[in-house]
Symmetry: C2
Subunit: 189 residues, 2 copies
């Protein structure tokens, strides 16, 4: 498996625990099963603290989906889009900032790269191409149309974002960075 | 307008303020516009404290909808269903209890009427017909299929419930109690 980064089970557990603590601190109740099943999206780059995302999926069915997204300080969900799949026009999603600060970037009038508030992960600059900046604070909300490139990064304290959307098919996501694996490989340690 | 209960603007404002305070207390951030636009569903029976519901709609589009529901102590959302409309199979909704306690009733194996934990609003007994009981505490979740009768009541402290669903068309809701007006008439005072 040379060349493929293997996330360790202990890293997954640590990130799950951190994410669950953040939600608990905010008074967002999870069941014990949800706490154990927090999804750690590591994206296969071997830099979870920089490029990664923690998720709790409350519900995902053919019609709608709702998730809670947790970002550690300056953690980045890398650039991607949700393409049409099997007659579905592609996932449309509404982000609502609950806590912390989020810098969201989509297609649209771009800011100069050296003027954006997020920090593009070092070594991955080639894979960040959209720079229309939306700064989100608690209570702020933004809807991303289907098949539209976007990426986002938490501010210095981290962030919690509620995501309301049409059906989620994570395995169909198209990342600008072709090195990325949306579903991480985990090795027991 | 004899026979039609007119909700007073001052009652609407009071209920909006109470609901916004509950959400604020829970750390759920609203914009000032959202606070001003809290929906007070009074259902036209002239007993908002007993039969009513306060709502914040975060997003409602053709594909999905997300709302925060606030219930005052023992406040009841009366029995209704979401029928198919214009080729849509009818609203399917997932309730997630965030705070307080909710007694939810749907079609299914019923409890004896005199054994349920909610109190059917006096004078409206004829309009409550489903008694399959689901008790929801923070972190608990339940999905109601489209076109399925349901009603719910908060416990003694009130409740906050997140609702994730397919598109919402409140005006199409079918209430068992034919006296009910889903969209209240408000008189300025």
């Amino acid at each position: 498996m040379e060349g493929v980064y293997m996330l360790k089970r202990s890293q997954v557990r640590d990130a799950q625990e951190r994410a669950a603590q953040i939600l608990k601190h905010l008074g967002i109740a999870l069941t014990s099963q949800e706490r154990e099943n927090v999804e750690v999206a590591e994206f296969g780059l071997g830099e979870l603290e920089k490029t990664g995302l923690e998720l709790v999926t409350y519900i995902n069915n053919k019609r709608y989906c709702a998730k809670e997204l947790v970002l550690f300080p300056r953690q980045t969900c890398p650039e991607h889009r949700h393409p049409p799949v099997d007659g579905d026009p592609g996932k449309q999603e509404t982000f609502r900032c609950r806590w912390g600060k989020v810098y969201l970037y989509t297609q649209g009038k771009p800011k100069e790269k050296n003027e954006i508030k997020a920090r593009v992960p070092k070594g991955s600059e080639a894979y960040y191409t959209v720079f229309h900046e939306i700064e989100m604070n608690p209570g702020d909300q933004f809807t991303i149309p289907s098949n539209t490139l976007h990426w986002f990064q938490a501010g210095d304290e981290g962030a919690v974002v509620s995501e309301f959307s049409s059906a989620s098919r994570d395995e169909a996501d198209v990342f600008t960075d072709t090195r990325i694996e949306r579903i991480p490989k985990v090795i027991e340690d």
